[in-house]
Amino acid sequence: MFEEITVCPATQAMLQKAKDENIKTCFDRVKDQRAVPLVIQGDAVGFAVPDPVEYRRKRLIQKRVCVVPQQMLLLPKTLCG
C-alpha cells in the first residue's frame, strides 16, 4: 500500500503501523500540500509553503507575514492515540 511512497519495505511496514495507530508522519504532512499555518516569534504568523514559486510570491505580497521555506513543512501536526 505504501509502495508509491517508499521503496524500503521496513519503512512501508512502519507507515502501516503508524496508520493503524492513527499517527501522522512527515509523509502525511507533506501529502497535505496546503500551507501549514504556524506561529513563530510572538505574534508573527508564518506559513510553511511547499512550492518555492509560491513561497516567493507569498513573500512578495504578504509583507507582514513571515513565510518560511519548504523545509519547515516537516514541523508537526502529529496526532496519536
Binding site: E4, I5, T6, V7, C8, P9, A10, T11, A13, M14, L15, K17, A18, E21, I23, T25, C26, F27, R29, V30, P50, P52, V53, P69, Q70, Q71, L73, L74, L75, P76, T78, C80, G81
Partner: protein
C-alpha cells in the same frame, strides 16, 4: 541558504577543534588522539612544526590554528590542497575565502534589505561562504574527527530498522556530530552499564544510528544504521526505542509528540537544537562521560516501561561495507607502501571506469523515499561509473545492497572488473555530510596524480543530490561547482526562471568549468551525468577506449620517442 549550510557545518568543525584542544591538553576525560599519523599530516598543511615535539603539543598548536581559521584575514589553510589552477581561478575571481565566520557574516550582511542588489555579486559572496564550508569548516570537522576518533577503514555492519533488538535497550543516536555519540558508544560497552541493563530485564544495550551521527559512528565503530532522515519517526513507531538522543541538524520537531504515543524518551543534547517536549541533557565536553552515563542510564531505566504489545520491529537489516575514507581508497588502490590514486586514474584513462559521481544528500518526503537514489546509482554503475556517497544517500544504497562487493553484479564490465580486483563495492560509503570534504580531497588527489588534466574542472567527475531538502545541500552544491565539479539536483530548485538561473545553469560553465542543473527524474539524471562525464572524457582525449595492440619487433622499431 548557503550561509545556513556553511554555518552549521562550520559550527560543527569549530566544536571538534575545541574538543581537540582540550583533549590535547588532557583536560577532558574520554577523548584521546587516536590517529597520530593523520595529526602529523594535517599539521603539515597548517605549517605546524612536528619534529622532536610531543604529539600533544602538536595537537594543541594545530587546534589553535584551526580555531584561527574562523576569523583570520588570509586564505584558509586547506585551500592549498586544491589544484594550483583552481586556487589561481579563485584568486582571479576574488572568491578565495578568508576566515569562515567572516565569509558567513558578509554573506548575511549582503542579503539584508537595501544591501547588494546585484545577484552576481551576491553569488560571489555566497560562493566564498560555500568554499569556506567545503575547504574550511567541513574539512576541519572531518580531519580533526579522524585525529580524535580514528580515520575510517572498511568494516562490515548492517542497515535498516531491523537492527533494533527486541530484548535489548535500544538507544538511537541521531543528528550529525560524533562528539557525544562516540562517548555514548564507549559507555554502553562498559560492563557495569551492561549489568545495569540486565538488572532492568534487558539482555544488553544496542546502539543504532540515524542520519549523519549514524554515519560517523558507523564509519569508525561499525555501529549499525537504523535508517536515514525520513525514518526517524518510524524508528520510534517500532515501539522498541528506549531513547532517541539527538544532537544537531535534520531533527524533526515532531519526535517528542510521536514519542508520547510510546515509552520513548527524546533527549536533546545541544543548545542549538532544543525541541519543546524533549528532555534536555546538555552535552558538556568537559565531562562527556557524565553526560553519556546519564543518557544511557535513563534509557536503561526506561526499558521496563516498554509496551511489548506495541513493539513491531521490521525484519529488514541488510549487510553493508562502509569506511571508505580518502586514505583508505588510496591504500586499497595502491597498497601500504605505494598508496596512490594512480590505478584509479589509469582505470579512468583506459575506460574501465567511465567516471566518478558523488551521490550525496538528504531524503525528501515530497518524492518516493530512496527510489531516486537507488535508481540513479544502479543506472550509473551499469554504465561503468563509480559512485561515491555520503549522508542519507549512502544509507539508501546500503538498504538496497549496493554497499556490498557483491553489488558488482549490477556494474558494467569495466567497473565490475575493478570492484572484483580491488574487493570494493561499486558504491563507496565515504561518511557523513561534512565528509563531502573527503571527496574534494580525493578529486584534488586524482588531479595531482596526473593524466586527467590539471584541474578538478574538466575531470570526468560530478556530483548529485537527487532527494535534497536541506540548506546544507545548497552550500555543498555551490562549493562543488566552484571547485570545478558540475552538480545536479533532483526534486526542485529555489531559483528558477531568472537571470540567476542563467548564471547558475549556463554561465558558470565559463566561470568555473562546472555548473548546476536540476532534473527530478532519475533516468534523465543518469543521462545528464553521463553526458557531462563523456564530454569531459572527450575534452581530455580519452573518450574512445584505447585498442590493445600487440606490437611486433617491426612496429617497435617504428616507434618514435
Amino acid at each position: 541558504m548557503i550561509t545556513g549550510g556553511a554555518s552549521t557545518h562550520s559550527d560543527h568543525g569549530r566544536g571538534v577543534a575545541e574538543v581537540l584542544l582540550l583533549a590535547a591538553r588532557g583536560e577532558i576525560p574520554g577523548y584521546t588522539i587516536k590517529d597520530e599519523k593523520k595529526l602529523l599530516m594535517v599539521a603539515e598543511v597548517f605549517d605546524v612544526p612536528t619534529e622532536d615535539r610531543k604529539i600533544e603539543d602538536i595537537a594543541v598548536e594545530l587546534a589553535k590554528k584551526c580555531l584561527e581559521e574562523f576569523s583570520k584575514d588570509e586564505p584558509l589553510a586547506f585551500l592549498k590542497r586544491a589544484p594550483e589552477s583552481r586556487q589561481a581561478l579563485w584568486q582571479e575571481k576574488g572568491i578565495t575565502p578568508r576566515g569562515i565566520d567572516k565569509e558567513v557574516v558578509e554573506a548575511m550582511s549582503a542579503t539584508l534589505m537595501g544591501n547588494s542588489l546585484d545577484y552576481k555579486e551576491i553569488m560571489d559572496i555566497g560562493t566564498r561562504a560555500a568554499l569556506a564550508d567545503g575547504w574550511g569548516g567541513s574539512m576541519i570537522a572531518t580531519e580533526l574527527q579522524d585525529i580524535l576518533f580514528g580515520t575510517p577503514k572498511p568494516l562490515r555492519s548492517k542497515v535498516n530498522l531491523g537492527v533494533l533488538k527486541e530484548d535489548e535497550v535500544n538507544i538511537i543516536v541521531h543528528g550529525h556530530e560524533p562528539l557525544l555519540s562516540e562517548i555514548i558508544v564507549m559507555v554502553s560497552k562498559q560492563q557495569d552499564m551492561i549489568d545495569y541493563a540486565k538488572k532492568h530485564g534487558a539482555h544488553g544495550i544496542n546502539i543504532a544510528g540515524m542520519c549523519c551521527t549514524a554515519n560517523e559512528v558507523l564509519m569508525r565503530h561499525g555501529i549499525p544504521l537504523a535508517g536515514n532522515f525520513i525514518q526517524q519517526e518510524l524508528a520510534i513507531i517500532t515501539g522498541a526505542v528506549e531513547a532517541m538522543v539527538v544532537d544537531v541538524q535534520c531533527v524533526f520537531q515532531s519526535l517528542p509528540q510521536i514519542a508520547q504515543c510510546y515509552h520513548t524518551k527524546v533527549i536533546t543534547t545541544n543548545r542549538r537544537a532544543k525541541i519543546p517536549g524533549a528532555i534536555h541533557i546538555e552535552f558538556d565536553e568537559h565531562d562527556a562521560i557524565k553526560s553519556a552515563n546519564e543518557i544511557v542510564r535513563l534509557a536503561i531505566e526506561n526499558y521496563p516501561k516498554r509496551d511489548n504489545l506495541k513493539v513491531d520491529i521490521p525484519d529488514e537489516a541488510i549487510d553493508l561495507v562502509a569506511g571508505f575514507s580518502h586514505e583508505t581508497i588510496n591504500h586499497m588502490l595502491g597498497g601500504t607502501f605505494r598508496g596512490s590514486y594512480r590505478p584509479l586514474n589509469d582505470a579512468i584513462i583506459d575506460g574501465r571506469i567511465r567516471g566518478v559521481v558523488g551521490i550525496v544528500g538528504c531524503n525528501n518526503p515530497k518524492v518516493r523515499h530512496d527510489h531516486i537514489h537507488i535508481t540513479l546509482a544502479k543506472e550509473l554503475i551499469a554504465k561503468d561509473v563509480l559512485v561515491v556517497s555520503t549522508g542519507c544517500a549512502a544509507m539508501a544504497f546500503g538498504k538496497a545492497g549496493l554497499l556490498l562487493p557483491e553489488a558488482a553484479k549490477y556494474a558494467g564490465p569495466g567497473l565490475a572488473e575493478i570492484c572484483e580486483t580491488v574487493g570494493i563495492p561499486p558504491v563507496l560509503h565515504c561518511g557523513s555530510c561534512v565528509d563531502n570534504s573527503r571527496i574534494l580531497i580525493a578529486a584534488s588527489e586524482i588531479t595531482n596524480i596526473g593524466g586527467l588534466g590539471n584541474d578538478i574542472g574538466g575531470l570526468p567527475a560530478c556530483g548529485c543530490a537527487p532527494e535534497w531538502m536541506s540548506e546544507k545541500a545548497i552550500a555543498i552544491g555551490q562549493y562543488f561547482v566552484a571547485s570545478g565539479a558540475p552538480v545536479l539536483f533532483g526534486v526542485g530548485f529555489p531559483v528558477t526562471g531568472s537571470g540567476m538561473s542563467d548564471l547558475l545553469f549556463k554561465e558558470y560553465w565559463d566561470e568555473y568549468n562546472a555548473c548546476w542543473a536540476v532534473e527530478p527524474d532519475p533516468y534523465k539524471q543518469a543521462e545528464i551525468l553521463v553526458k557531462w562525464i563523456d564530454s569531459a572524457r572527450e575534452k581530455l582525449g580519452i573518450k574512445e577506449k584505447p585498442q590493445r595492440v600487440l606490437y611486433d619487433m617491426a612496429m617497435r622499431r617504428e616507434l618514435k620517442f
